[in-house]
């Protein structure tokens, strides 16, 4: 198998690191191929790596402090990655998945396996760091703004809906701006614990961590201030635009306005 084993606590990407060429589809879940017993291989020690946010940990001050990011990324996110790797060590059925496939497989249509929590939280946090930017906030532009105005009426209305969803979430969870594949429109959804809209085949555009650990150091229990600061100062509409452009390859959002003659 010639698998490369190296410890990847600071790897640059969070994609699959095992060099096996086999890919397990969902229908292969029934096969129990004990790879470790068929040949003598060095044990692969890690499968997924921790990706750093695209900015320094103190770059989001004063809206999200260095201390929060050190804890949230450095300890919690890292903990999810390491926990996931440890779980995958024991389970060779879940070998060879990309992160997206792993989440959908472990979600198991609503009856999640233990690996789901770690896998989904790794994905969610990667998405979250990318959704923010030190000079974020302001408004989206061009096509994304048009789509938001089409689906929510106005950008202000969207912000209101987003804040409402965040504040009415009971317990731990995430708030998403998501592009619904079937309805072909943008919506604000809130999910519990680690649940991620890709399990329903929807395409997330931005997300916000509403677990208490995300804001407790900076805002204590003042969730409203946290959400407001996220929308006003941190959210990266550039990244959101890139995501919706990519999403248009999968969802037909309507005919482009090509002028006739």
């Amino acid at each position: 198998m010639g698998s490369t084993c190296f410890h990847t606590s600071a790897a640059p990407s969070s994609c699959l690191l095992s060099s096996t060429k086999r890919s397990y589809g969902l229908h292969d879940l029934k096969l129990k191929v004990p790879i470790s017993r068929t040949r003598k291989v060095s044990k692969v020690l890690a499968f997924y790596g921790l990706r750093s946010p695209p900015y320094k940990l103190d770059a989001l001050e004063p809206h999200m402090s260095n201390r929060t990011l050190e804890m949230h990324w450095g300890e919690l996110h890292r903990g999810y990655v390491e926990g996931l790797n440890k779980q995958l060590e024991r389970n060779d059925i879940l070998y060879g998945y990309t992160m997206d496939e792993l989440i959908k497989a472990t979600y198991n249509n609503g009856n999640p396996f233990p690996e789901f929590n770690n896998a989904a939280q790794v994905w969610n946090h990667n998405f979250f760091w990318d959704s923010m930017h030190p000079r974020g906030g302001n408004m989206p532009t061009l096509g994304l703004l048009d789509q938001i105005e089409k689906d929510f009426g106005s950008f202000t209305n969207f912000k209101e809906k987003f804040v409402d969803a965040a504040l009415s979430l009971f317990g731990s969870g995430w708030v998403w701006l998501v592009l619904r594949k079937r309805e072909k429109r943008l919506e604000v959804v809130k999910t519990c614990n680690a649940i991620n809209p890709i399990v329903w085949d929807d395409i997330p555009i931005i997300n916000l961590d509403m677990w208490e650990h995300a804001y407790y150091f900076d805002y204590k229990n003042d969730r409203a201030a946290y959400v407001k600061n996220f929308l006003d100062h941190l959210v990266s509409w550039d990244v959101a635009t890139a995501r919706i452009i990519r999403a248009e390859a999968f969802v037909n959002l309507g005919e482009p306005k090509i002028p006739i003659a």
Binding site: M71, F170, G171, W211, E212, Y216, N221
Partner: protein, 276 residues
């Protein structure tokens, strides 16, 4: 201080109520200005007055179909100890935030939801009534659970951490083998709980058996079984430990047993499962 207390409605059964106060619905209330008030400390009285009746007298005379109903709202119960008394196990900062911000928010929102519920019930708006159930369970559960939690905690010098004696101690040994086993079981379940919730030691009052359960968010223990009475509840929401223990929930669960008071649990257990 006694003057302020006279503004509260105190049901005092021995008073002659025929003369002064009008009979309001079925509540016979009386203003108390007497020495009974001054002999009690304000804190103790405020814990007695954890229910405040909105003055039915304030409401205008409504149609006879509605009658005169008074909505019972809730207020923040006081702690029996200072915020800093549980140091170093739980910091004073956490206790103050937990009590004054979180618990108070649950109570405020619970009262709001109750008012909206009463309005919806009086209008016969079935769908609104159902829509409010989520807010009622969450905020009401938050109030109920935290009220139990404060009673479960005590500073070390007031018995926090002392193992249970009496019938509860025997029951723990019978149902779990030893106190250490119970503690390690509850700590494990609390650490494994994903997201927010509570871990409970409860007693099934019909089967007379102790149970360890977890509930999510602010669901009270009864959602796991109508016969379950909560004896000990440990809050494993992040707000309960994050400022001090960061994300190391197992450390919090290991240490909190040093300030758990088994007195409340023992008394309640003896009430539910009396020894014949």
């Amino acid at each position: 201080m006694p003057r302020q207390l006279s503004n509260h409605f105190l049901p005092l059964p021995n008073k002659n109520i025929n003369s002064s106060s009008p009979s309001i619905g079925r509540c016979n209330l009386v203003f108390s200005t007497d020495l009974e008030c001054s002999s009690l400390s304000s804190m103790a009285l405020r814990t007695l007055l954890s229910r405040r009746t909105l003055a039915a007298a304030v409401r205008p005379q409504l149609g006879s179909t509605l009658g005169l109903r008074s909505l019972v709202t809730f207020s923040l119960p006081d702690l029996a100890y200072d915020y800093g008394a549980l140091e170093p196990v739980i910091s004073g900062e956490i206790m103050e935030l937990h009590h004054q911000k979180h618990h108070q928010a649950y109570i405020t929102n619970y009262n709001k939801a109750l008012e909206q519920l009463e309005l919806a019930m009086s209008k016969g708006d079935a769908s609104s009534i159902v829509k409010l159930q989520g807010a009622l369970k969450f905020n009401g559960g938050g109030h109920v659970n935290h009220s139990i939690f404060w009673k479960n905690l005590a500073p070390v010098r007031e018995g926090g951490g002392e193992p249970p004696k009496g019938s509860l101690g025997w029951a723990i040994d019978t149902d779990f083998g030893s106190l250490e086993t119970l503690i390690s079981r509850m700590s494990t379940e609390g650490a494994a709980l994903q997201g927010s919730g509570w871990v409970w030691l409860g007693v099934d009052k019909d089967l007379k058996k102790l149970v360890v359960e977890t509930t999510v968010n602010q669901d009270p223990l009864v959602t796991k079984g109508a016969n379950l009475v909560p004896l000990i509840g440990i809050d494993v929401w992040e707000h309960a430990y994050y400022l001090q223990y960061k994300n190391v929930r197992p450390d919090y669960l290991k240490n909190i047993w040093k300030v758990i008071s088994w007195k409340y649990a023992s008394d309640l257990y003896e009430k539910e499962c009396p020894v014949h």
